[in-house]
């Protein structure tokens, strides 16, 4: 069986023009997500995970420019679509859940209405039916007493509840692709698990592809089929979750794994990754943006990054992999 990619990002580069110069935030990023598959996008803060998601959704800030690349989705390139066509797709075919659910909802609109807005916009319901459909969605994300909650404003709900509302908005029109940008940061551990299970379950039911952005490798291993590791705007390694945990090949992935508390590891054995992300405003960025922090640096590393396939769907961008 040949897997059909739901989304194939190729060669994506993004720059931000700021007061202090041009920031090359993404550099030739490429990865795929298949139908029904859940892929984790991991990396430390500032590595460009959210920017990747925003670029695919077409919701970058005005300062951000896509300078190269394609994002193939359902036979067409999302990056080449007009704003109007994209607006048709967003919310219906591809959806996104944001970090910090409290600020991500309109504070002065009833949550039921916010769900209804999306349904009506994409033909999921007619105006008169929309409130009822919205309540159905609330039931689906297991909000107790949905009739009453539909009338609530975000400030009357807990963070976990708000995140469920976000999920209801994102999944209202049964999208083919869902991007969840750190959907559980700021929530307590129990709520975290409930939310992740909910996303997983709803995704499986409808064969939806999911990109799950997180800092947390543990969470990624538990819920995702594959893991894509980002560092300073580069994809350094991508592999099935199991393979990455058993046999990480990029020095950065290895460090990241070592920094993740596992079942066996004690807090004492946690390693922190030395150095920080390079300044992406520099004109003379090295070919490998990890080279400044790398212990395996050799002369070969000055050449353009390689893309080596080192196993079943396991790629690494490194001259001296582990």
């Amino acid at each position: 069986m040949v897997a059909i990619p739901a989304l194939a990002v190729e060669d994506l580069s993004v720059e931000f023009r700021t007061r202090s110069g041009v920031v090359k935030v993404l550099d030739h990023v490429g990865f795929t997500v298949e139908k029904g598959e859940t892929v984790a996008l991991v990396g430390e803060s500032g590595s460009g995970k959210s920017v990747t998601a925003f670029a695919v959704m077409g919701i970058l800030d005005a300062a951000g420019k896509v300078t190269s690349g394609r994002a193939m989705f359902g036979g067409s390139d999302l990056l080449a679509q007009s704003e109007r066509d994209l607006a048709e797709l967003r919310g219906r075919e591809l959806s996104m859940i944001f970090q910090n659910p409290r600020t991500a909802l309109n504070p002065i609109r009833r949550v039921g209405q916010q769900i209804a807005d999306v349904l009506v916009r994409h033909g999921g319901a007619t105006r008169p039916d929309a409130p009822r459909e919205a309540i159905k969605m609330l039931k689906k994300v297991r909000i107790p007493d949905p009739e009453r909650r539909a009338e609530a404003y975000p400030f009357e709900l807990s963070g976990g509840m708000c995140q469920r509302i976000m999920i209801a908005i994102a999944l209202a029109c049964r999208p083919a692709l869902l991007i969840a940008d750190e959907p559980t940061t700021g929530l307590d551990v129990t709520t975290q698990a409930v939310i992740m299970d909910l996303i997983g379950e709803l995704g499986r039911d409808s064969g939806m592809a999911t990109i799950f952005i997180t800092h947390d490798l543990g969470l990624a291993a538990e819920y995702c089929d594959r893991i894509v590791v980002m560092h300073a705007g580069h994809i350094v390694e991508s592999a099935p979750s199991r393979a990455l945990f058993a046999n990480a090949r990029h020095p950065y992935s290895a460090k990241l794994l070592a920094a993740t508390p596992g079942e066996t590891a004690s807090l004492a054995s946690l390693v922190s990754i030395p150095g920080g992300l390079p300044d992406l405003r520099r004109a003379d960025l090295p070919a490998c943006r990890y080279s400044g922090r790398c212990e395996r640096l050799t002369d070969a590393c000055a050449q353009p990054l390689p893309h080596k396939t080192v196993g079943e769907r396991h790629d690494v961008a490194c001259w001296n992999p582990l």
Partner: protein, 337 residues
């Protein structure tokens, strides 16, 4: 909603008390002889003494204050020296003229400032944004009496498309039957189109001068709050769910951005009520501002004091209205109280 109304009314009480104390102090505690003020410039010593007993100025201050409160409670603000009329009656008679002018100016200002601010924010960096910036910086720098004069010169003297800047209605037209006191409304209610046109053309220049003056803070606030709302997380959510641009800008962004603009309305009213005095002077508009200025020039003090008190009470009432309006738009305030 009723609870909100009551809690806001409660916060207005200290303001009203403060205002009453200040207006009282303005006549009694300050240097000079209030009786001489009230008696007028040319009064003889006997006349002054007479006024002193009549106004109770020979009593102790607390007694005078109590007397002042009792008078207020009876709606008595004293009599005008020059006309002999009760000040309350004069103010009530002239209030519609001032209110009509101020309200039309406010609607004009809001009607221009808000779309301008919204457009400037949505199309940041384009010519409309620059226009907005010029309007907001220049607008607050314009002395309202000078813009009024300038417009009178250009539109009345040079172009001759505006009527003479003298009052609410041309001398050849008769005032409409008094229903609301607003000429524009009354003339329509009585079906008198000619009067309506006349009243509107008289109103245009003073209202525009006042609107230009009060437009700046509104446009500046609209632009600023719209910009920050457009960059907020929930607008990004709205965009990410593919809502139509119109829905994103109006239903999502604008409704939120309008909240700080409503708060700014308080300051705008303070501007407008002050500008009102100057504009009425320029255009000989028979409102309470002109009444107070004329009284000032003849040292007729009771009308001035009544005017200050009336304006302050009006201003407090308007602020109350603004609070309620805010509560209508923002559920967080409504449900908190």
């Amino acid at each position: 909603m009723l609870k909100l109304l009551l809690s806001r009314l409660a916060t207005a009480i200290p303001s009203i008390a403060g205002v009453i104390v200040v207006t009282f102090m303005l006549t009694r505690l300050l240097p000079g002889d209030p009786a001489a003020y009230f008696a007028g410039l040319a009064a003889s010593p006997q006349a002054i003494a007479e006024v002193r007993t009549k106004l109770g100025l020979d009593k102790s201050l607390p007694e005078q204050f109590v007397g002042y409160i009792v008078d207020l409670a009876h709606g008595n603000l004293g009599n005008s020296l020059s006309t002999g009329q009760p000040v309350v009656a004069e103010i009530v008679n002239r209030l519609p003229a001032s209110a009509e002018l101020t309200l039309v100016a406010l609607f004009l200002a809001v009607g221009i400032a808000i779309p301008l601010g919204v457009l400037a924010a949505v199309k940041q960096g384009t010519w409309i944004d620059h226009l907005c910036r010029i309007v907001t910086t220049a607008g607050v720098s314009l002395p309202v009496f000078f813009t009024g004069l300038l417009m009178a010169y250009v539109f009345y003297y040079l172009l001759q498309i505006a009527p003479a800047p003298t009052g609410r209605l041309d001398a050849f037209l008769s005032a409409p039957t008094d229903i609301t006191g607003f000429y524009l409304i009354d003339s329509i209610l009585t079906g008198n189109l000619e009067t309506f046109r006349g009243a509107l053309s008289q109103l245009a220049l003073p209202a525009i001068s006042m609107a230009i003056f009060s437009l700046a803070p509104l446009a500046r606030m609209t632009r600023g709050s719209m910009l920050s709302v457009l960059n907020s997380d929930f607008v990004r959510t709205a965009r990410a769910s593919g809502l139509a641009p119109r829905t994103v800008v109006f239903t999502y962004a604008f409704r939120n951005a309008v909240l700080p603009v409503i708060t700014t309305l308080g300051m705008v009213f303070s501007f407008l009520l002050g500008a009102n005095v100057l504009v009425e002077t320029v255009f000989a508009w028979p409102g309470i501002g002109l009444y107070a200025v004329n009284a000032l020039l003849t040292s007729d003090y009771a009308p001035v004091q009544g005017f200050v008190l009336a304006m302050a009470v009006l201003y407090i009432a308007l602020n109350l209205l603004i609070d309620l309006l805010y509560g209508l738009v923002d559920p967080r305030v409504r449900l908190d109280s």
